[in-house]
Symmetry: D2
Subunit: 389 residues, 4 copies
C-alpha cells in the first residue's frame, strides 16, 4: 500500500493581530491527518510589550516549531528595515531546517516580507492571506511585492481578488475566501468584563457597560515627520470630548516610539487620565468582545474597516493609513484635525450601530483556506499572466 | 538669490553586467551640475572571481561612494537568500548615511531586491530599470516584486511597459526608453584582439578572426536539482561539435558551484581543452566587441535576447531561464538536449547574421533616463492604479 | 618638508555612561593638531529610552562620524547576543569606511566586544580603557576577552594593571591612568536643582536639598532567572524605609524588561509613588552633581564603587554584580535580602560621608590617555608575554 | 528511582581539521548513555571547496543537529569579520533551539569565536580544546579571548596549561590531556595509495612510494599585504627543487583568494605542473597516512608542529604563523626566503625521520576529555583567579 506523505504547512505569525485573525485556520489545520502543521512565531509577536503570542498558542493547545527573534529597537525606519534584513537571514535558516511544502503568510508587514523572500529563494511555494487590498503607508507597496512572490492567494474581498489577477497572478490560484478574522468575530462568544479591562491598563477606570470609545492610532511610516503632529490632534479631541475611552498603544512600526512618547507626555498635560484607560493589548477574543460594546472606534486600525463593517460598529477613520481600502457605510473618514475628529465621533455616537455588511465576510473562510492549502497542486516557477486583463 | 539644492541620485551596482549596461547613464549623470551622483557597489560585483567593478569605475573616472560587502559563499539557495538579508541590513546603513533623493536599481537579482527594500522602508523613491520583463528563474518573481516597491520605471520595451502599468503602477511614471545596454552596444568601437582573449583564459587557443562559438549558461535557481544534468547536455554538444569555443563561467546564482564543478570535471573527461577557451569575464566593451564576431551565442544569457537582437547575432537559447521574454527572430529556443542543441547551433552557423531588430533598442536611452531622473517630481506614498486596465 | 600624517583615532561610544566618563578625553583629542578624531556612536547610546548621546555630543561641540544601529528588542540573553553579532557586521563596515589607525573602546559590554572583534580582524590596533577589573555578570568574561584582543591598555587602578600584565599583555603597553570618570567627577561644577530633577521623572517629588537615596540596580545577566526575585527585595526595602528616593531605570542588559516590569507593577502595589521619583537618565554633569548630594547610593552600579569612592558617598552594594572589584571603605556589601538592605542603608545614612579615596583616582587621567594615544608606537601582531610573572 | 537527566553536550565543528582532530571524542560521546550528543556544523566545514564535513560525519555514523551557514565570500579581512558577526547571530538561534548544557569548541578561528560569544551570552558553559597555545596570526589574539570566555579548558601541552592558569582561569578546570589529533594519528591504520592521491588532484602525478614533499601554506591574516610576496618565495623554491610535491590549497582565512590566485598564475609560469600535484583536501585518515610517508612537510600548518612531532616527520616551518608554539626537534624555522627554504628542505630530506616526541601526545586524550565533559560540575559565573601565580 502506498503511504501518502503528509503535506508540511508552515504558518508564520509575526504579529498578535495575525494570530487573532488566523486562529481558526490553525486549529483546523492541526486536526487534519494529511497535514503536518508547523508554526513559526517571531518579530513583534514574541515581545512582551506587544503581547507574547507563545502564551496564547499554548493556551489554545498549539505547538511552536521555531521562534525567530529579529526585532531591532528604535521604532524608526532604520530599525524597521534592518529587522526585515535580519528576518530574511533567520527565516532562511528556519525554513531550511523545517523544509515545509508551503509557507503561509498574512498581510503586509516587514517581517512578512522577510519570510516571503526567504521562502521564495528556497523554492518553497507561498500562500498569502489578505493580498490585493489597497491602503496607505509603506504596507501598500510591501503587500503587493509579497503578492508577486506568492503562489496561492487568499483575498478577503472581490476587489482585492481582481487586483491580484490584474497584477499577473494565475486566476486559478486566487480565491476570495472573505476575511478569516470576521469569521472569528462572528463566532466569538467571549464576554469581556470591567474587571478584565481595568486590570489590564493604566489611567482612568472605564465602565464598559456604558458609552465608551476605543482609540487605536498607529504611526504612518511614510509620513514619519508628521506622526507626532498628527497624534496630537487625536489626543486633543479625546481630551476635549472627555468621554470614557480605552486607548491602545500603537504597534511596532516606525514612528511608534514618538507616538508613545507623545501619549506619555500629553497624558498628564491634557489630563487624559481623567477619562482614558491605556491598554497594551488584549487577547483576540477579549478585543472582539470589547469592540462589540464600544460606541465608536477611533483611529486608523484595519479592524475599523474590516471587523467593524460586519460587527456594525461606527468608526472614525483618521488620516491616510487606510486610504483606498474598500469600506462599508460604518466608516467616516476625517483628516488629522481635532475639530473634524470630534465632530465625527459625536456624529457616530448619535448614529449608533450600522447594518451589518458582508463586503469582507464570507462564512467558512477558515475551512476554505484549510481545504485549499491541504489539496491544491503546488508549483514553484511563476509566470506572468495577462490573459484575463 | 536662491541656490537650488542638487538632487542626490544613488546608483547601485551589484553585478558587472549592471555596470556594463549602465555606464553611459553614469557618465552623463556625473556631468550634470544639478545632480550629485552617488555610486554604491557591492554584492558579486566586488568579488575578484566575478570581476572587480571598482577597477572598471576607476578606469572610467567614476568615484565610489560606498562598498557593500554581503555575498555568502555556497552558491546555493541558502547563500542567495542570506545574502539578500545581509544586503537589506547593509544597504539600510549605507542609504541612511548617504541620504539620497533617489535610488536607481536595475533588473532582478537578490542584491537588487535588498537595496529596494532598504530604500522603500527609508522612504527613498526608487527608479527601476528593466522592470516588466518576463523570464524563468526566481528572477521572474523578484523583478515584479521590485516593480511594486519602485516609483519610477524605465522599461526596455513596449510589452514590459504595458505589464508594469497593468500591475497598478502610475502610467505617468512608466517610460519605455529602450535597453541602455543596446545603446552601448551600438556605440561600441572597441576592437577585441586574439591577444586579449587568449591571455584572459585557460584551455585551448581560439582564433577570433575565424568561426567560433560563445557559450554562457547560468544556473536556473528554480530547477536547482537539474542544473548539473542540464549543463552536461551543453558540455557534450560542444564537445561533439569540436568547433572553437569561448566559454564564460556562470554567475553567482544558486547552483553556480555545481555547474563550475561539472565544467572542471568534464573539461578533462570530454577533452574540452581541445577546442574550448574558458574565460571568467571581460570588460563590457571587450565583451560586446567579441559578441559581434561570434558565429553563434549559445546558453541562457539575457544578452542573447537583448544585445544580440540588435547586433544581428544568431543565438541558441537553452532551457527555461529566458522563458517569456520578447524575442527577435535571431533566437532558436531548444530544450536541455544535446542533439537539439547541436542541430540548432549548426543551423545558426549556416544561417549567419540576422537583420537588426529594434524591439529592445531606442536611440538615446541613457539621455532619456538621465533627463527623467534629474527632473521628474518625486513622490513617496504609492497608490495602486487600475484606471488604465 | 615632510608633512606628518595625522593619526586617525576612532572613539566608539555605545552607552551613555561611556560618554559620561570619556568627555574630557574627546575634548582634548579634538584640540590636537596631530590627531584626526572620529567618533562612532551606536548601540543603546542612540536609543531614546537610554538617552540619545548624539544630542549630548552636539551640545559639547563634538561631531559624529558614523552611527551604528544594532540593538535588538527583547531585553534578554538572545537579544544581547544577537546585538553583539549584528554589531560585528556593522562595526566592520564602519571601520572599513573610516580606516582608523586606532580604535578606542571602554569597559565590557557586548557592543564593545563587537567593535573589538571588528577592529581585530581588520588589523586595527585597539586601545582599551577600564580593562583588568574584576566583577560579576557576563561582563567579567567579556572584559578580559576584550583585553586579549587589545593592544594598548588604560587600567584605572593598580590591581587591574597587574591583572592585565598577568594575562600576558606587554607591560610597556599597560598604563594605570586612573579612572577618567573620576577626573570628570572631581572637576564637575554643575549645580543640580530640584527643578531639573523633578521635571525629568515620574512619581513623588523629591527635595534634593534634604536627605534622599539614589537607587540604581541593573540586571545580572548570569542570574537571569533570579533578577525579578532579587529586585523585589530592593523594592520592598525602599518601600518600607519610606525615605525620599530617586530611582534610575535599569540599563539595556538581559533581564532589563523584567526588572522594569516589576518596577511598574510594584510602584502601585507597594505605594512607591509616595516616596520615589523614577528617572530614566540625566546628563553626566547632572548625575555627578546629584550623586554629591545623596545620603546613600543603593544598588549595583559601578559608580558606587568608582565615582563614590572619591566623592565620599556611602554606598550599599547589593548582590554579585560588582563582586571582586577593588573597594574603598565607603561600600557596604549585602545580599539580596530586604532586611539586610534596610539595615545597611540606615547604617550608611547615620555614618555620613567617608574620607575621599584615590584607589581609582589619578589627576590628569584624560591628558595621559590622550598623550599616549597620540604618540605611542602602534603594533598589530600580538604575542603572549610571560616574562613578568 | 531517580532518573538522571542526560547531559546535553553540543560539539561545534566549523573546519574540517576540527573534525579530523575530534572524531574519537565524538564517537565516544555518542556511545555514552548519560550524554545526549548534539553536533553543529557550519562555517567553512560545509563548503564544497574546503571539504563537506557532513559527508564525513555520515560516513562515520554521526548525526548532525544543526547546520550554520555563515561564510562570506571575499577571502579577506572584511569577509572574515562579517562571517564572525553572522556567526554570533546564527549560533545564538541554534543554541537557543538546542539548549545544550555545554558547548565544546576547538582552537582559534573566527567561527569558533562566534560560537563562544553566543554561548557566553546565553549562559551556557563552554569547554575549549587547544587553548593556551601561542602562535602568530590573528588566531593568537582570538585563541586567548576564547579562553577568557570558556569554563573548562583542555590544553594539549603543559606550557599551554600554565598559560591558561596564568590568565586567571580556575586551575581545577584546566587539564592537559594532550592533543586528541595525535591520538588519532597514533591509531591510524589507513593505507593511502597512489590511486587515491592522484585521482584527487590536478597537475603532476606523484608517486607516494618514493620521496615527495607536502606543502601547505596558509595566509597570515596580520600580514595581509605580504601574503602574495611571501608565497612566491615558497613557489619558487619548490619550482627550483623540482622534487615531486603534493600541495594543499590554503584555508578560508583572509588572504586565501590572493594566495590561490598566485598559485594558479605561477603554476604555469614556473612549470609547477612538472612536479607538483595540487589537492584541495583529503579525509583525515588519508591525510595522516600521507603525512607518514612524506620526506618533509613544508609551510606553516599547525600539523607540522603538532602531528609531525609525534610522527617523526621533518618539517620546514616558514614565517610567523606558528611563532611561539612549543616545538620538538623535528622543525626547522625559516623566513620567507627562497634560498633558506630550499636549503632547509634539503637538510631535512637528508636528515630523515626524527625521534618521536610526546610534548603534544598523551595516551587516551579522547577518553579523558569525554570523561570530564560527562561528569564535571558546571558553573556559569566566571571569576578571575590569581592565587596560583
Amino acid at each position: 500500500m502506498n503511504q501518502t506523505k503528509k503535506r508540511k504547512i508552515c504558518f508564520v505569525i509575526t504579529s498578535t493581530i495575525h494570530y487573532a485573525r488566523s486562529k481558526l485556520i490553525l486549529v483546523k489545520l492541526k486536526k487534519r491527518d494529511d497535514v503536518d502543521l508547523q508554526i513559526v512565531i517571531g518579530g513583534s509577536a514574541i515581545l512582551s510589550k506587544y503581547g507574547e503570542v507563545d502564551k496564547w498558542l499554548k493556551h489554545d493547545g498549539l505547538d511552536v516549531s521555531a521562534v525567530v527573534s529579529i526585532t531591532l529597537e528604535g521604532g524608526n525606519n532604520v530599525s524597521m528595515a534592518k529587522t526585515a534584513g535580519l528576518g530574511v537571514i533567520e527565516f532562511t535558516s528556519t525554513f531550511e531546517k523545517l523544509k515545509p511544502d508551503i509557507v503561509v503568510l498574512r498581510a503586509d508587514r516587514y517581517e512578512v516580507l522577510s519570510a516571503a523572500i526567504a521562502a521564495a529563494y528556497l523554492n518553497i511555494p507561498i500562500a498569502h492571506i489578505e493580498g490585493g487590498d489597497v491602503s496607505g503607508n509603506i504596507d501598500e507597496s510591501v503587500r503587493h511585492a509579497i503578492t508577486k512572490l506568492a503562489h496561492i492567494h487568499f483575498a478577503t474581498n472581490e476587489d482585492s481578488k481582481k487586483r491580484i489577477i490584474q497584477m499577473g497572478e494565475r486566476p486559478d490560484y486566487v480565491f476570495n475566501v472573505g476575511c478569516p478574522g470576521l469569521e472569528i468575530a462572528a463566532k466569538n462568544n467571549f464576554k469581556i468584563t470591567n474587571r478584565i479591562i481595568n486590570n489590564m491598563g493604566l489611567g482612568a477606570r472605564v465602565d464598559i457597560n456604558k458609552n465608551f470609545l476605543i482609540v487605536t492610532q498607529h504611526p504612518v511610516t511614510t509620513e514619519i515627520e508628521m506622526n507626532e503632529k498628527n497624534i496630537i490632534e487625536t489626543i486633543k479631541s479625546i481630551s476635549e470630548l472627555n468621554i470614557p475611552t480605552i486607548w491602545f498603544w500603537p504597534n511596532v512600526d516606525a514612528g511608534t516610539d514618538r507616538i508613545s512618547g507623545m501619549l506619555r507626555r500629553y497624558r498628564e498635560k491634557h489630563n487624559l487620565d481623567r477619562s482614558v484607560l491605556f491598554i497594551k493589548f488584549l487577547l483576540p477574543e477579549e478585543f472582539i468582545s470589547l469592540l462589540k460594546k464600544t460606541s465608536c472606534l477611533v483611529g486608523n486600525s484595519s479592524a475599523g474597516i474590516k471587523e467593524c463593517s460586519y460587527l456594525k460598529i461606527p468608526v472614525v477613520n483618521i488620516g491616510t493609513r487606510q486610504d483606498g481600502r474598500m469600506r462599508a457605510e460604518n466608516v467616516i473618514d476625517v483628516d488629522y484635525d481635532r475639530r473634524k475628529i470630534k465632530k465625527a465621533i459625536l456624529k457616530q455616537i448619535s448614529h449608533g450601530p450600522y447594518p451589518s455588511s458582508d463586503i469582507y465576510y464570507k462564512p467558512n473562510s477558515s475551512k476554505k483556506i484549510v481545504d485549499i492549502l491541504s489539496n491544491i497542486n503546488l508549483y514553484i516557477q511563476k509566470k506572468f499572466n495577462d490573459d484575463n486583463v
